[in-house]
């Protein structure tokens, strides 16, 4: 069962007392080849899990960096289908968990009940749909269960504790704690505090918990990891260094350097 890769990865890291590094990339920005090169660079530099962002025209929970990347990716043919192709290609040479992240309208267009099967076939382990709270998307959830693809729930600082049972009921894989009340790339989250909250959320869920939104530097990563979270997500900063570089090689190198630094931050090196 494909979902097993997530459990295996977090389990193995836990026994080595390490924090998972989760790296987000917008698929197709600026091309599939770039995404593949940067994904491989991230894995080589110590990323444990990859989130493959499915570009969407109206990403209302993303800040300017990822929103602009998404817009450019679409201009160049980026799509949910390209994200599946990207996963298939990566799966040929890596056993790292792969999670598709994005918004619901492209999923509806692809076919809510068809996506999980196609995703499993492409080697995808989980789906993280930003605008799909647990009350919605029953057909997708059922199909995901049948296909063995984890539906990763998001928990926000504004989530009331009474809601948690609903969020965790069908959750598998891991829980994603959003460290800021805001969009991706927002600044100013006191990460130590957020990490503590995330740890408690993970304990209540009985699943590994990763914390993300607003993590940029090795110091951020290390501050979060000291709180005992199981994983740290970096997205906007990865997309930003990719955007600044001028060719595929430079982009892969920039991602390698960024991720290496974050890895050291997490490992306390």
């Amino acid at each position: 069962m494909s979902g097993g890769r997530i459990e295996q990865t977090f389990g193995a890291l836990k026994t080595r007392n390490k924090t998972a590094l989760v790296v987000y990339l917008t698929v197709g920005e600026p091309s599939l080849a770039d995404t593949l090169a940067c994904a491989r660079a991230a894995l080589e530099a110590g990323a444990d899990v990859l989130e493959l962002g499915m570009p969407f025209s109206d990403p209302t929970a993303d800040g300017p960096v990822i929103a602009a990347a998404s817009y450019r990716a679409i201009q160049r043919g980026g799509s949910l289908k390209m994200a599946l192709a990207c996963a298939s290609e990566l799966r040929k040479s890596s056993a790292a968990p792969l999670v598709l992240m994005g918004y619901y309208n492209p999923v509806v267009a692809f076919g809510e009940t068809a996506l999980p099967g196609a995703a499993a076939q492409a080697g995808v382990d989980g789906l993280l749909i930003v605008d799909l709270p647990p009350e919605e998307g029953a057909p997708l959830r059922e199909a995901a269960k049948a296909a063995g693809v984890a539906m990763i729930p998001l928990v926000a600082p504004t989530t009331r504790p009474e809601r948690e049972p609903k969020l965790f009921a069908e959750a598998r894989g891991f829980v994603y704690y959003v460290t800021v009340t805001g969009v991706t790339g927002a600044k100013g989250a006191p990460l130590g505090e957020a990490g503590k909250t995330a740890r408690a959320v993970g304990d209540r869920a009985g699943l590994p918990v990763v914390a993300g939104f607003g993590v940029r530097t090795p110091a951020d990563a290390s501050a979060l990891s000291r709180t005992g979270v199981d994983g740290v997500v970096v997205g906007t900063e990865v997309v930003r260094v990719m955007t600044e570089a001028t060719d595929t090689e430079a982009r892969a190198r920039a991602v390698f350097e960024l991720v290496s630094g974050l890895r050291r931050g997490l490992d306390g090196g």
Partner: protein, 402 residues
């Protein structure tokens, strides 16, 4: 199963980031527990009467009817519900006053809104002035340019207008930016959604607040003609003036017609005919009919009227279309421009370009209803707003002397 009240048939729901769920739940409770109370209703209705000028008149447009159908073979009578006479010039104020009052009661300290034509922005800015709350309005750059008078009005009212430069730089993108602001400031801020669209409970709340239009109009036409209208027409952007007019007639044997913007034509890629040409999708928090491509990317809409230039539609309209209870027609940019001039010259009323779309189909609806009835039809149309804001567009498109 989703909460049934969040859905209209298969449409509606609450497709939002987890961060916003608590605010929508809070608002949902407020809709159930505060809106129906006597104190809320008295305060809101008091403002509608003394400040907005309700009830708005129901006016019979004799010269226009004669102009459209000189023999009166199809069009017997045309009755206009004069929402243009509301303070600030459109139906939008009914909703804005209700929502800002509710936000105040919830202890919110700041109001944000999106606007296309600027009418909802002006209405929200006005309500915020009345209740003493700071207000910021997101508006696409294209609309900032084509609805300049409303930008100046908002600024005069003390509101900050934030131009949005992403995407098509129109209403959809203004709504994206407003949602991003809300995700960030949700603890202190109320997002005053301007149409019967968005995540639950907005479609229900906005329709409840706009229902005053249809309730008054139904009573007025009964008083004046001793009969119900043979059909009701309204333009449809997100769908708030239409749903506010339609609801009062749901239990009557009265056909309902919504008119969407066909832009340069529904067979071109420049239109905003979401119901006519859209497919099931999820946009701005609701499952509804949406202009979307095979990859699920939202397509850019086009309409000469900023208030209809939106690739989605309120979920209740999607459901009314699916069930057949309402019929949705379209009118092009050209149709809207031509009829605006006719209405001005025959009735002395400068209508908004949004509203013009409904006027453009009056004769077609009259013909359809005549077929059904075997006699000339008596139509009721929601005149949703006035057109001063559109003068620059009218002058440009109709020539120096429109």
């Amino acid at each position: 199963m989703p909460q049934s009240s969040a859905y209209f048939g298969e449409f509606g729901g609450r497709f939002v980031a987890e961060t916003l769920v608590f605010a929508l739940e809070e608002l949902e409770r407020a809709v159930q527990e505060i809106v129906p109370t006597e104190s809320f209703q008295n305060e809101w209705r008091g403002l509608l009467a003394d400040y907005v000028g309700r009830p708005t008149p129901l006016y019979r447009a004799k010269r226009l009817a004669e102009r459209l159908d000189p023999t009166a073979e199809n069009l017997g009578e045309l009755w206009l519900k004069r929402e243009d006479l509301c303070h600030t010039g459109a139906h939008k104020i009914n909703n804005a006053l209700g929502q800002v009052l509710l936000a105040k009661k919830l202890g919110k300290q700041r109001i944000i809104a999106e606007t296309g034509a600027g009418q909802h922005g002006v209405a929200t800015a006005t309500a915020c002035a009345v209740f003493g709350l700071p207000c910021e309005v997101y508006m696409g750059e294209v609309d900032v340019a084509r609805q300049a008078p409303n930008v100046a009005r908002m600024q005069m009212l003390g509101t900050r207008v934030i131009p949005v430069s992403s995407g098509s730089r129109t209403l959809k993108d203004a709504m994206n930016e407003a949602m991003r602001d809300w995700v960030t400031n949700v603890r202190t801020t109320h997002y005053c959604v301007g149409s019967a669209a968005g995540p639950h409970p907005f479609p229900t709340l906005v329709a409840d607040l706009q229902s005053v239009i249809g309730i008054e109009a139904r009573r007025q036409i009964l008083e004046k003609t001793n009969a119900l209208p043979d059909a009701v027409l309204a333009c449809v952007g997100g769908g708030s003036n239409a749903i506010g007019t339609f609801r009062a007639f749901f239990d009557d044997p009265v056909p309902l017609y919504g008119i969407e913007a066909a832009g340069e034509g529904v067979d071109t890629d420049k239109h905003a005919a979401t119901i006519t040409r859209g497919r099931v999708g999820v946009l701005h928090g609701a499952r509804t009919l949406v202009l979307t491509d095979d990859d699920g990317q939202i397509q850019e809409a086009h309409s000469i009227s900023a208030g209809l230039d939106y690739p989605g539609v309120g979920p209740e309209h999607a459901a009314l279309h699916r069930s057949g209870r309402a019929v949705y027609l379209t009118a092009t940019d050209h149709d809207a421009l031509q009829i605006t001039r006719e209405v001005a010259r025959t009735e002395g009323i400068l209508i908004a370009l949004e509203t013009a779309h409904a006027f453009a189909r009056v004769l077609d609806v009259a013909r359809r209803e005549r077929e059904r009835l075997g006699r000339p039809a008596r139509l009721l149309l929601c005149l949703s707003g006035r057109g001063d804001k559109d003068l620059a567009t009218l002058r440009e498109r109709l020539g120096g002397e429109p």
